[in-house]
């Protein structure tokens, strides 16, 4: 009786629950890698190092130094953010592909015992 209910649930709410879980997981990964912040601040100086801004009295030489300083900080920030963005994106893409496969295969999963029997009878060996 419980098994019948389990199969019924598998093809109705079970599918929806699985999709909802994938959504939560993807959202969690996005948050973990701060994807939103990384994209939003991609070119911002790393940790605000050299965040001082020039005033009207600052000499040209100093302004140039500050500009370079800031440029380096932005570059470091860009690289570190890009690395994290790439890692996060790869994980999200791989997770999404795997999830998509599982969603597509979802109705087939309960049939795997039959598939197993067929493969055994057919004598399939790896």
């Amino acid at each position: 009786m419980a098994i019948t209910e389990m199969f019924f649930w598998w093809y109705s709410q079970g599918w929806q629950v699985f999709i909802a879980k994938i959504r939560t997981w993807l959202s969690g990964v996005t948050d973990f890698f701060s994807m939103d912040s990384l994209v939003r601040t991609l070119f911002k100086p790393y940790r605000q190092i050299s965040a001082e801004s020039a005033t009207s009295t600052t000499s040209l030489d100093l302004k140039f130094h500050m500009f370079i300083d800031r440029l380096v900080s932005r570059l470091i920030g860009f690289i570190s953010r890009l690395i994290l963005l790439i890692i996060g994106t790869v994980i999200i893409i791989l997770g999404s592909i795997l999830s998509l496969i599982l969603i597509i295969l979802w109705p087939v999963i309960p049939l795997l015992p039959i598939v197993g029997i067929i493969l055994s009878i057919a004598g399939v060996i790896l």
């Binding site: 419980a2 098994i3 209910e5 389990m6 649930w9 598998w10 709410q13 079970g14 629950v17 959202s27 969690g28 948050d31 973990f32 890698f33 701060s34 994807m35 912040s37 990384l38 939003r40 601040t41 911002k44 100086p45 790393y46 940790r47 605000q48 190092i49 965040a51 001082e52 920030g77 570190s80 953010r81 994290l84 999963i109 309960p110 795997l112 015992p113 039959i114 598939v115 197993g116 029997i117 067929i118 493969l119 055994s120 057919a122 004598g123 399939v124 060996i125 790896l126």
Partner: protein, 794 residues
């Protein structure tokens, strides 16, 4: 709507399935089968046996089963109809049956979490329910119908054990009477259900994951090493703590702060309100809100962290003013550069005044506040804000002031219900619902320096020390108030207290002679207070004693403090002839730190006392006007604008005004009641007292002059007092009747009352005793008999 239990309802089946399948044994067995099939099949395939595909294929079945149990059976949703079985909680689905009777329910409900919650919080033990069994309806239908209604009233999602427990009580005939006896109402029980639902929701919420920005959240924000040394990161502390603001007003304030910090202009907020009104809770809740990725706040504020600067540590770290200034500038620079910091100055006045633990950095902060480049939250109380405004108007003008109002009763109770689990965890006790309402009531009455909800929380915390069997009841709260504030708040319950109140007159007359009217008036006032029927917004009693000198006016006040208030130490005596100038009003209300003998300071220290205002007619009219509020509302504000409560005091004013008239009338054989009204009229018309002053007293008692017969009793009391003094030396003294008569003849003065009597006893009896002791005639264990002869010689 069916008000019966349907065992065929799918929810019942699901509940039983969950109980069996969601057990650790079944889950482990499934896991073991899954692993065995998967690995067994893989091993066979490795051995080139194609039969291995079959166990691998079948391994999905236990895996599917686990997935189904953990997801489909984890929570049993309520049904779609409003039938009883569709609405009851999971634990009831497993406990009820078609044949359940009301008597069975009484046994089932304590086993449910919510049922036992209501029983514990409202002091409704199992024996109570056993006693009411015979008054319950014969069938469960009326109880289930009542549960339906209670579920709707309390906005509960399910019919829980708590709802059913309250439903059982509500079906009793005359349940209101029964609840009244336990000092409860049905509304209280409904609040109990709401409390359980709230805590249950809180537990569910803690299971939700909080998204707080991830590993690269702070990449774009700067380092703040100096700030971290001298400040506490509130965001780190409160992130994910599920702080829930219970006051609608506080939610508005948080939105107002977010609004201020989002738009241009001065980026500061001054939260001005009394200590305890929830100012820090607002900041903590704001810190949590900003760190939660799921809240709807502008991006410019997301993940901004609130740091609370610690003034004392800052001061102690700096060797001199220059270093301190350097530190502060470094901190402000770091905050500006970091771009993600909101600075919180708790007790902000510490940063605007010089003194121990405080530092005046207004000159550094004002430009920063004006420029609006750093977001700052300042917390201070109204008085300090006024002081700062007076001292530094420029600073006050740059602040966006938001007033934090104290919580009302409903909000305070909600906050207490929210906080109680933390107290219970820390102190290993359980708080009853009545302890919460009592904490509100008594803290409102006795704690004046702190506002709601802070003062109710303080009282609840201290009440934990007086828990009985680890349960904090309303009595525990009352004891906490009595011990902490030296007042009597409990209705006289034990035998001794009741006997004392009922026999107060005779106890007073052990020390007082005659003056029956006055003794009876004060005794009645104390009995009203002891029975809990006095007006809570006034002193226990206010009396004006009028009469000649030496007739027992002051003595009655002293006796009262001795008999009922726990000793003459609880007598606060003010000689009003020391308050003859208008400027003396300030001496009445001086702060305890500058004058510990001021009226307000003494009453603040010792609210449960007799306040004796001796010779009131000599006080300046301004002083009397100041006292009007005390007599009327039992409140006097001291020079620091604190409300000092006189509501646990008896106020006795004495006066010799009208003494001659009283003496003449009594000598002429008139009764007090015959001329009392006329005498009071005379006092008003002669301008000695204003009518509004006399009207404020509960009673004006006239003291009659003492007769020679009265004086004989006074003499006995004085001799008894002499004997008490001699007790350590084991010597006693007796005066024979003839000697007594001589003493009375010598000591009787209708104008002076009993006073000359005491002097005569001193001059004669005490002198005789002293001489006998020094000459060795009186040895320990001996009794001196004083004769008329000895008196005459002395």
């Amino acid at each position: 709507m069916k008000n019966s239990f349907d065992p065929k309802n799918p929810r019942v089946k699901k509940a039983y399935q969950k109980r069996i399948l969601n057990s650790p044994a079944v889950l482990v067995l499934n896991l073991v089968i899954f692993i065995a099939l998967l690995f067994g099949g893989s091993a066979l395939l490795y051995l080139k046996e194609s039969i291995g595909w079959t166990p691998i294929g079948f391994s999905v079945l236990p895996a599917m089963l686990i997935y189904w149990i953990k997801n489909a059976l984890s929570y049993i949703n309520i049904g779609k109809t409003d039938n009883f079985t569709d609405l009851i909680s999971e634990s009831l689905l497993l406990s009820l049956s078609e044949n359940t009777t009301p008597a069975n329910l009484i046994k089932i409900l304590p086993k449910t979490r919510s049922g036992s919650f209501i029983m514990a919080r409202f002091g409704l033990p199992i024996p109570f329910f056993n006693q009411i069994i015979e008054f319950l309806p014969a069938a469960t239908e009326p109880i289930y119908a009542a549960a339906h209604d209670i579920r709707e009233v309390t906005d509960s999602e399910e019919i829980t054990g708590a709802v059913l427990t309250v439903a059982i009580i509500s079906t009793l005939p005359n349940y209101e009477l029964l609840l009244n006896q336990m000092k409860l109402t049905m509304a209280d029980l409904h609040q109990g259900i709401i409390w359980f639902n709230y805590l249950n929701g809180m537990v569910k919420n803690t299971k939700k994951t909080i998204r707080s920005g991830g590993i690269a959240r702070d990449f774009a924000f700067g380092y703040t090493p100096t700030l971290q040394r001298f400040a506490i990161n509130l965001s780190e502390r409160y992130s994910g703590s599920h702080t829930k603001v219970q006051q609608a007003d506080h939610t508005k304030i948080i939105n107002q702060i977010i609004d201020t910090f989002t738009h241009g202009g001065r980026q500061n907020v001054a939260l001005v309100g009394a200590y305890g009104s929830g100012r820090s809770t607002i900041v903590n809740s704001l810190a949590e809100t900003l760190m939660n990725a799921d809240t709807k706040i502008p991006h410019s504020l997301k993940y901004r962290q609130i740091y609370s600067l610690d003034a004392p540590s800052l001061i102690s770290a700096a060797k001199n003013d220059g270093e301190l200034e350097y530190l502060i500038i470094s901190i402000l620079n770091e905050i500006y550069s970091a771009k993600n910091i909101i600075l919180c100055l708790d007790n902000a006045h510490l940063f605007f005044e010089e003194g121990p633990g405080s530092v005046d950095i207004a000159n550094l902060l004002v430009p920063v506040l004006e420029a609006g480049r750093i977001r700052i939250v300042l917390i201070m109380d109204d008085q300090k804000f006024l002081e700062i405004s007076a001292k530094n108007p420029a600073l006050a003008n740059t602040l966006n002031k938001i007033v934090v109002k104290p919580a009302d009763r409903t909000e305070t109770l909600k906050i207490l219900m929210d906080q109680v689990p933390f107290f219970e965890y820390q102190k290993n006790v359980i708080y009853t619902y009545k302890s919460l309402t009592e904490a509100y009531r008594l803290s409102e009455q006795y704690i004046h320096d702190v506002e709601m909800p802070g003062k109710a929380k303080l009282l609840l915390e201290s009440a934990a020390s007086y828990a009985i069997n680890n349960v904090v009841t309303s009595e525990s709260v009352q004891t906490a108030v009595e011990k902490s504030y030296g007042v009597k708040v409990k209705v006289a319950s034990d035998e001794e207290d009741r006997a004392k109140l009922l026999n107060l007159e005779s106890l007073i007359h052990d020390r007082m002679i005659d003056q029956v009217e006055a003794v009876s008036a004060v005794s009645n006032a104390l009995r009203r207070a002891g029975a809990g029927v006095k007006n809570q917004s006034r002193p226990i009693g206010t009396f004006l004693f009028l009469g000649p000198t030496g007739v027992g006016k002051t003595e009655l006040a002293k006796t009262l403090s001795e008999v009922y208030f726990g000793g003459e130490g609880n007598l606060i005596r003010l000689d009003m002839n020391e308050f003859v100038a208008a400027s003396d009003v300030s001496r009445l209300i001086k702060d305890g730190a500058s004058d510990s003998l001021s009226l307000t300071a003494q009453v603040m220290k010792q609210p449960f006392s007799v306040v004796l205002l001796d010779e009131i007619e000599k006080a300046h009219p301004s002083v009397l006007t100041t006292l009007l509020q005390v007599l009327d509302e039992g409140i006097l504000r001291d020079e620091k604008n604190r409300e000092i409560s006189f509501r646990d005091s008896i106020i006795i004013a004495t006066s010799n005004a009208g003494a001659n008239e009283i003496r003449d009338k009594i000598t002429a054989g008139e009764k007090i009641n015959d001329f009392k009204e006329a005498l009071i009229e005379n006092l008003i018309s002669s301008g000695e007292f204003k009518p509004e002053f006399l009207n404020r007293f509960d009673e004006i008692c006239l003291f009659k002059p003492l007769s020679k017969e009265d004086l004989l009793q006074v003499l006995d009391l004085i001799i008894a007092s002499t004997n008490k003094t001699l007790e350590p030396q084991k010597i006693s003294v007796t005066v024979n009747p003839e000697a007594k008569q001589i003493l009375i003849d010598k000591g009787y003065d209708p104008k002076m009352g009993a006073r000359p009597m005491r002097r005569i006893v001193q001059k004669t009896v005490e002198n005789i005793v002293a001489a006998a002791i020094l000459s060795g005639h009186a040895t320990p264990g001996s009794t001196l008999h004083i004769t008329p002869n000895e008196i005459e010689i002395n």
